[in-house]
């Protein structure tokens, strides 16, 4: 079985978002980078599927050259090979991103190494476009199930389950297929030291793609209005307990 997984390098924003002075992007000067929790699960799933069924796994990203860091992270978890589609330093929209990723898949198909399954995160944490996986699937003519939290792949079929309200709903599609996943699909492993060393030595295939005009032009980013909570310090350590009890009463949590 051949599994391909798509990831995106994103800044790891902590307690506070800081915007660049021109208001066009998030200021990443003091931030580290990583991939989203959804994508960590996609990578883990790809590694497990190949561990179980044999075959090979490929990770692909559209991003700047610095996204080599995220490709190596995926390889340190057990992904076999990596492709970097160079976006330069600009953020591409979802249509261009999907076209670039689809072309990487098509290239694999042309080489006779067609993937059976393409995994992505349900949505990127930063742009939140909710569409790249669907656009890739449409371009390839493959079925697509989104938001998947349970996945069984066997005999050329993917059975996928996702949440709908308080229920789970089940889909079954034949391979090749695109599946976009959500965190909770599995519990990703941490990279091992030997894994990290192996990943550093691996070659990364470079690809080029065309960016297209997409119609959406960002004017500015801004932070939403604060929700205006004012913090009352109830106390330090056990001294705070009397006030804590009062707060439980004030909020109606504890009957008077």
């Amino acid at each position: 079985m051949r599994v391909m997984v798509c990831i995106k390098r994103v800044p790891l924003v902590g307690g506070k978002v800081v915007l660049s002075p021109d208001g066009k992007e998030v200021d990443t000067k003091f931030l580290g980078f990583g991939i989203s929790p959804h994508e960590e699960c996609a990578v883990e799933e790809a590694v497990r599927l190949v561990e179980r069924n044999g075959g090979s796994s490929t990770v692909v990203t559209l991003g700047p050259q610095s996204a080599v860091e995220q490709l190596q992270f995926a390889m340190s978890l057990g992904i076999d090979e990596a492709i970097l589609i160079d976006s330069g330093d600009e953020e591409w929209g979802p249509m261009s991103t999907a076209a670039a990723l689809a072309s990487a898949v098509s290239e694999k198909v042309a080489e006779g190494a067609a993937p059976d399954l393409l995994l992505l995160g349900n949505e990127a944490p930063d742009s939140g476009d909710y569409q790249v996986g669907i656009r890739v699937a449409t371009a390839l003519g493959w079925p697509c199930v989104t938001g998947v939290k349970e996945l069984d792949v066997s005999d050329g079929t993917a059975v996928a389950r996702r949440e709908h309200g308080s229920e789970m709903e089940m889909f079954s599609v034949s391979l090749p297929a695109v599946v976009t996943v959500k965190e909770g699909l599995n519990l990703p492993r941490y990279p091992s030291l030997p894994g990290r060393l192996r990943a550093k030595g691996k070659k990364i295939d470079q690809m080029k793609a065309e960016r297209m005009a997409e119609g959406l032009t960002t004017l500015q980013l801004r932070l939403p209005a604060e929700d205006g909570r004012e913090t009352e310090l109830l106390g330090t350590g056990v001294d705070a307990v009397p006030r804590l009890i009062e707060v439980l009463r004030e909020t109606g949590v504890l009957a008077r």
């Binding site: 939140g128 989104t146 310090l233 350590g237």
Partner: protein, 324 residues
């Protein structure tokens, strides 16, 4: 016209569709065009009266048996069939899993841009819009040019549903739709009720949250005890699920669940934005943290500086004493 994709649960209008209808009616009013809706699946006609109250003049109904279970590509084909027959300047869906999925599929099939999670859309040339990014931590103001209908989804909770001043009589039209097997290849085959009781965290009036500061899986005993005494549920941060201390279904935040209790007691949680988007609808937030400078200490309504393994046992003792 402006077309709104309406979701219903056996003839009951979904709350988020009421939000989408409200935004779509505002857009139609600003553009001076009529508001239409499209509904899929048997029982959709039962929603006609309800959507008339939201100002919909024409309901496009795709209620064939083939659409009895949800199939995103078939729904997208239905939307495309409607806008081919009655040109639309915009199509609006709710930013639910299904709404985003159908809208993205329409965009993919028609080669049009799709803008997810909008909180405001102003018709014009070009359209101006604001939408949520970073799970709501950042707002993007943008302009949209499109060769065809502009495709939007509405961020859940960003619009207060409001009915029109006067209800409209709804004219119902069937959607001319012929579906291929491929259009139905992805469809819901089965519904299951999960074994665990996922509802308790989302519906609880009190949630006791634990983060990395709890220190271990065993360390949660005192949080479970407090939640038990208060009749609440325990939720966690991603640090906790990543460490395997608790299952992911307990995770609060951007990639977990969103809660809206009367009181959220966050213990040993630093207050990363991705966690806070999951609890920002809590009426009151109480943080207990050994680091008085942790971000959550200024994002909460109440703060206690201290070791949770000292504060919580003392609180539990006191609660036992006064409720005994």
């Amino acid at each position: 016209m402006i077309l709104c994709i309406v979701e219903h649960d056996n003839g009951r209008l979904e709350d988020q569709s009421a939000e989408a209808l409200t935004m779509a009616r505002g857009m139609a009013g600003a553009a001076g065009v009529p508001l239409h809706a499209v509904i899929f699946g048997p029982g959709g006609d039962a929603v006609a009266a309800a959507i008339g109250e939201y100002g919909v003049s024409v309901l496009h109904l795709a209620d064939s048996d083939a659409l009895a279970s949800y199939a995103p590509v078939a729904w997208a084909r239905g939307v495309i069939a409607v806008v081919e027959a009655a040109p639309a300047e915009a199509v609006v869906a709710s930013g639910t899993d299904r709404g985003n999925e159908v809208m993205a599929t329409v965009g993919a099939l028609a080669g049009l841009p799709m803008v997810a999670n909008c909180i405001d859309v102003q018709p014009g040339d070009p359209y101006r819009l604001s939408r949520l990014r970073w799970a709501g931590s950042v707002v993007e103001d943008a302009e949209l040019d499109s060769d065809g209908p502009r495709l939007f989804s509405v961020a859940p909770g960003s619009v207060v549903p409001a009915k029109a001043d006067s209800a409209v009589t709804v004219e119902t039209q069937p959607v001319p739709l012929s579906l291929s097997d491929a259009d139905l290849a992805v469809r819901v085959l089965e519904h299951m009720v999960p074994e665990h009781d996922g509802a308790s965290l989302v519906d609880s009036r009190v949630v006791v949250g634990g983060g990395r500061g709890v220190g271990s899986a065993e360390g949660f005993a005192v949080l479970d005890e407090l939640a038990g005494l208060l009749g609440g549920a325990v939720g966690v941060s991603r640090a906790v699920t990543s460490l395997g201390w608790r299952p992911h279904r307990d995770q609060i935040g951007q990639t977990g669940v969103r809660i809206a209790p009367d009181l959220y007691i966050a213990c040993g949680i630093s207050g990363a934005i991705q966690h806070m988007v999951g609890c920002k609808s809590a009426r009151r937030i109480l943080a207990i943290n050994s680091d008085a400078d942790a971000p959550i200490m200024s994002k909460a309504d109440y703060a206690v500086a201290g070791d949770l393994h000292v504060v919580l046992p003392a609180l539990v003792d006191e609660l036992r004493r006064i409720t005994a």
